[in-house]
Symmetry: C2
Subunit: 748 residues, 2 copies
């Protein structure tokens, strides 16, 4: 009787509450939905990965509840206590909200309410953050970016307890915390909010998420379409030198969805930032899908978000580590928490690729929502398969017409070459047109340096970008591509670089034994045409695939050309003499050269140069055609680096001076292995020799090389007419080679 | 009927064969025995690790049989084809013999016979090996050492098919191959055979093994006791500068068993060579045990062989990699094939430590014999447990009175310090008295460089020792210990170094929270007493254990003292200013200094210096008491190394000049961790500060340091009277500290 009365009272209270806030009773409605919660509750106890996720989440949140809530007055940079505490708070609050919905335990709702109330009390007192290093300082954090992270997560926490909260408490939070918070990061900071940039995506998503919870159409519109009048001047730059306002560019979430993603799903800043930017894209698109499916945000722009996940997953090595294109901290992989939602959503709303399930298994958790439930159920049903990657060619640019990135892969991921012929990549872009990096399974053989930043490590500049990121990592010489006259591409000028992109010449991965990508760059050095071609060869008689690399340069004047290879590992042997200078001095004084020491100098002993090195128990030999006047340099990173911000890594460099048109032809051959436990070396010597330029004119470039016991192999590239239907013919030493399509490859 | 007749004929033939060679019918009798074979045959199909071993062995041998036998005329060094082929031959022949016994398939016996016959034909034609770089060239290989390897294995192959071979074929093999072979490596090369050295152990075992198969008492005696008259002069040296003949020294297998092993089982050359030397010791001791148990060879010298296995396994990090004491190639671990027999024998004939079974599991194979059968059966019975290591103090020297090695371990292997106060270590010894290396789990934090050799990698000097092994790796400055006046210990003179050893002052690992080792060295620099003490502290309030390192120097004159720490990883921060020189120049011109570049120079900013670095996702802070005049150097290996034989690794060095008596007090504190996937840094800052020398006189050395939130901790070492029963008292700042035993440690 007492019980019945109580229930009645509660029902009346709920009705009363609903009447004064029209959307109460409809929550949760963002990532968790009412029907989703119902399904999850039914499946609890029968789907292992779901149970594990809930258990791990509860363990984390319970520990935080025991610790008590702390919302300190903001003081520190990233890496410092107040930064880390506020970050931990929003992560935990979102999880606590989920647990309240799934487990129904009110302690979680109370925890979220109490924390939000503390923030309400704190936020209204806060000035701008005391650390003033950002172009857009936040209030809780030193950047609006982190404030936006907070709101994206806190919106979900608020959504979870919305119906449970009394109306007056909701009013308090919305008036004193959420609306001012959303306004500060948007109208208060248009230079942050109204751009095409991952920062803005976070800002847009934050405003949109809280708008959805509060059912505030104005905020939702502000999220989707940006600020109509931001009062910003053209030409403003951010901390990284990125342009803030570009003429003719739209703003807001939908514009950010259209602009930085190409139609094939490549995100113009590269996979490291795509992984970071992906979360707000997906989480807000999913929230829009749940709350206002008729808007079609998840499917916007020909389903580019789902394509983007697929592209991102393919831009990784065999260990799942993302390739370091542009600014990128190495070691970030698709096992990061930030990709749990991406993988789950890709599976649930995409084509249910069973390879995604094996990634989800290794992630060890699922998104607590519809998508995560499907993933956990299908894993439990034994449907997971290994995630297999193929060669891909991804366009760059909103319309797919600004160059791209190709990854050639042979024999699974036995060899993978990442070939970059993109646009600049916004403010995180590097000046490395036609550069590449090479991987054997999960090991980087020829490296891209990555960024000079120790993310969230306070001792290194508060965890922010270090000066050497600009003076070294972004410079052309830090990459495996041509530097002309010791000057970076576009003179290292961001505005100039942002206007241009390379052009695809040929991509053909139709054969399993030979795959080709070729692209041209005509703007990096006005008056010079750079044309690079990579051929991955995986023929039967070869233990491992190899890479033929052809760099053709045509110029209006004589120049110096430097082609470095940043090889990881220890040098074993060269086929030419080289000397170590008595003292180590910087190789130059600007454009990154000031950070390289010359460790060795030599000259070719014949028509070919070759070096062999050992890395992670595997052997590699680089063999290249040489000219007598070539300088051969061994370099070491670390000059002008008094604070040891740079790794002391090695490079081998072929330098050709006073040449106008020239061709670099190189074979990189992985072979054999060595174990320090068995102390056995298997195939320590390469089988490739005699890399030879057979022909090079405006129509055809032909390079041959010998494989021991397997004959001479010939590759011919058509420098014009690369369509599959194009007919070609070339006479070499009296023999006529005829073929159809952009290239020829066969035994000679 | 036909069948019965055939069997009868075979039986008659066997009898006939037995009658003409008295020991026929008794084979196999070395590692496999007739009863052992019987047991193994019975267990086939029911013991997984046994079955796996037989299956893997058969797969390997069958592939070799399919390939056909090749016994090429010897041409190459290690790493080259003929070397690798002959090595593969003996490994495969031994396995084929085992398979013949276990599976009864005659194809294996025929394979061994055919190979031996080819060797018979080849060997009698062979001159000394054409590569003349060894002090004892072999015939099949460039060193008698490898020829001995061949005979140790081939003896087992021959033993397995002995009874199966007709007498005339045995005669042929013994007269033309085995006896001349055994003679060549013994009486033909006494400088190789008649020493106390791992080379000789192989030689002795080889001669003894074939002697046992042929039941030749003269050869067995030659193996056990050496050559009575070797005609060698005192003072001869081998390729590595090792003394060949030392006055008063015995030779032969038993002498080698007594001499290089200390009573606690430490092998004076260090674990890398012990692992290599172990196999012939054990295999011949086991053969003697099976063939002539009454000789007690396996139990010789108070069971030192079993103790040696235990010592060896304890001289490894958490991954099973051996500590790099003296010449040692890193990465060698107890999962090597060479330790299968050691682990199996240790288990079967020792105290049946279930931890050994987990190592055997990871080795993935067992010795095909009694010991291996026991191991495989007990693993199948689920008896395996993790192998746990403790702190150990191992004496050096045949009588245990020539110093030693201590390994302090805290919280399992969370922190392990390897402290070396041994004798010279024969020809593979380094000049690094009182040096140490530090490990956190499987990661080397402060490294011992190891050797300069790429074993079996032909491109690097044929896989042999490189010149930099002498000019760098053996020198004192290459180690984490004191170099005085830029001169190596004993002036780098082998003969002098071989006369001396350090002396233990104190070892006490009785407490879990504090463990101490302390030793003195008075001969490395005549007139100077080096006294180093290491204290491993694992108190409750500390996340991880830390190491307090105290280096006390007392000298008759003023000197320069260099104390380097070869830290692995990237420098994050220092608490003092330092500059990078405009050009990198060698730090000196001899004793290893010529191989170091000065990369940074600074001076203390106060009473303490501190550096923090990041390695393998973990943080480390080194904090040391400093004097105003100290020079602080950052160094990089690689100067005067034109062929890139050395790794470009880093060191931090505290240099104190113009001092007579002084004390270096340092705390190395591991803390926190960092993941590039979560990008979270946990505890990036250390908690130790104010390392302070409180007292230092001939009686007591006292060092204090602060641990944040945990107070000041005080360590006092008694420089005299370190017995457990000794009473001590010291007044510091008016407070009297009283204790019993060699040291005091507590909150101050």
């Amino acid at each position: 009787m007492k019980n019945t009365l109580f229930k009645l009272l509660v029902a009346v209270a709920v009705l009363a509450s609903a009447s004064c806030a029209k959307s109460a009773g409809d929550h949760p409605s963002l990532i968790l939905t009412k029907s989703g919660v119902e399904q999850i509750r039914q499946q609890l106890g029968s789907v292992p990965l779901l149970d594990e996720t809930v258990a791990a989440t509860a363990a984390l949140v319970d520990a935080e509840i025991a610790l008590g809530i702390d919302t300190p007055v903001p003081v520190h940079f990233s890496g410092g206590y107040t930064h880390k505490r506020h970050k931990q708070n929003f992560l935990v609050a979102e999880k606590a909200g989920m647990l309240f919905q799934i487990l129904g335990d009110e302690k979680y709702a109370q925890y979220v309410r109490d924390m939000l109330m503390q923030y309400e009390a704190l936020y209204k007192t806060l000035p701008v953050h005391p650390q003033k290093r950002s172009y857009a300082p936040g209030k809780l954090f030193w950047q609006c970016l982190n404030d936006s992270n907070w709101l994206v997560y806190m919106s979900q926490a608020y959504d979870a307890i919305y119906d449970w909260l009394p109306a007056n408490e909701r009013e308090l939070l919305e008036n004193n915390l959420f609306r001012p918070f959303a306004d500060y990061i948007s109208v208060g900071n248009p230079q942050f909010y109204n751009r095409i940039h991952n920062h803005s995506t976070w800002g847009n998503a934050a405003v949109g998420m809280i708008g959805l919870v509060m059912n505030d159409k104005e905020l939702i519109d502000r999220a989707l379409y940006g600020l109509s009048d931001d009062g910003l001047a053209f030409g403003m730059k951010d901390d990284d030198g990125g342009l803030i306002k570009v003429e003719g560019q739209k703003a807001g979430f939908l514009a950010n969805l259209e602009e930085p993603f190409s139609p094939s799903g490549y995100y113009t800043e590269g996979p490291y930032y795509q992984r970071y930017a992906m979360y707000p894209f997906l989480i807000f698109a999913l929230a829009m899908h749940n709350a206002q499916p008729e808007m079609g945000v998840l499917e916007h722009s020909d389903g580019v978000l789902l394509k983007a996940i697929d592209a991102l997953l393919n831009l990784s090595d065999a260990d799942g580590d993302f390739f370091a294109l542009n600014d990128a901290q190495k070691g970030m992989s698709y096992y990061t928490r930030e990709l749990v939602s991406a993988v789950n959503i890709s599976y649930h709303y995409g084509d249910r690729n069973p390879g995604l399930l094996s990634i989800a298994q290794q992630q060890g958790q699922v998104l607590l929502g519809d998508a995560g439930l499907t993933v956990a159920e299908d894993i439990a049903a034994g449907m997971a398969e290994p995630f297999t990657k193929r060669s891909v060619n991804l366009t760059d640019g909103a319309n797919g017409d600004q160059g791209g990135v190709a990854v050639l892969r042979a024999r699974g991921e036995a060899l993978a070459s990442v070939f970059k012929y993109t646009a600049q990549g916004l403010s995180h872009g590097h000046y490395d047109k036609l550069s590449f990096s090479l991987f054997e399974e999960g090991d980087e053989v020829l490296q891209d340096y990555g960024l000079v930043r120790f993310v969230n490590i306070e001792q290194k500049g508060g965890g922010n970008y270090l000066p050497e990121n600009g003076s070294w990592a972004k410079q052309t010489i830090a990459h495996n591509t041509i530097t002309q006259n010791q000057i970076s591409h576009f003179g290292g000028d961001y505005a100039t670089g942002s206007k241009h992109h390379s052009e695809l010449h040929l991509y053909d991965a139709s054969r399993a034994d030979v795959q080709v990508v070729s692209a041209k760059e005509s703007n990096a050095y006005p008056g010079t045409l750079l044309h690079r071609t990579q051929v991955m060869v995986a023929i039967e008689t070869l233990e491992k695939p190899l890479l033929l690399d052809i760099f053709k340069i045509t110029s209006e004047q004589q120049n110096q050309y430097d082609l470095p290879f940043y090889f990881n590992g220890q040098l074993l042997e060269t086929n030419f003499a080289h000397q170590q200078p008595a003292q180590l001095e910087p190789l130059g004084d600007s454009h990154g050269y000031q950070h390289l020491y010359t460790e060795g100098e030599g000259a070719p002993a014949g028509d070919n140069i070759a070096i062999t090195w050992l890395n992670e128990g595997k052997f590699y030999t680089l063999t290249a055609a040489a000219k007598a006047a070539d300088e051969l340099l061994f370099a070491r990173i670390g000059a002008n680096d008094p604070n040891f911000n740079l790794r002391r890594d090695a490079a081998f460099m072929q330098r050709r001076s006073n040449e106008q048109n020239t061709l670099f032809a190189t074979v990189i051959e992985p072979h054999g292995n060595y174990s320090p436990v068995t102390e056995k070396s298997h195939n320590p010597r390469g089988r490739v020799s005699n890399v030879e330029v057979i022909n090079d004119d405006e129509n055809y470039t032909a390079v041959a090389f010998d494989i021991a016991d397997s004959g001479q192999h010939l590759f011919i590239l058509a420098n014009q007419n690369t369509q599959l239907s194009d007919q070609h013919s070339l006479e070499i030493d009296g023999q006529i080679y005829q073929w159809q399509g952009g290239y020829f490859f066969d035994l000679r």
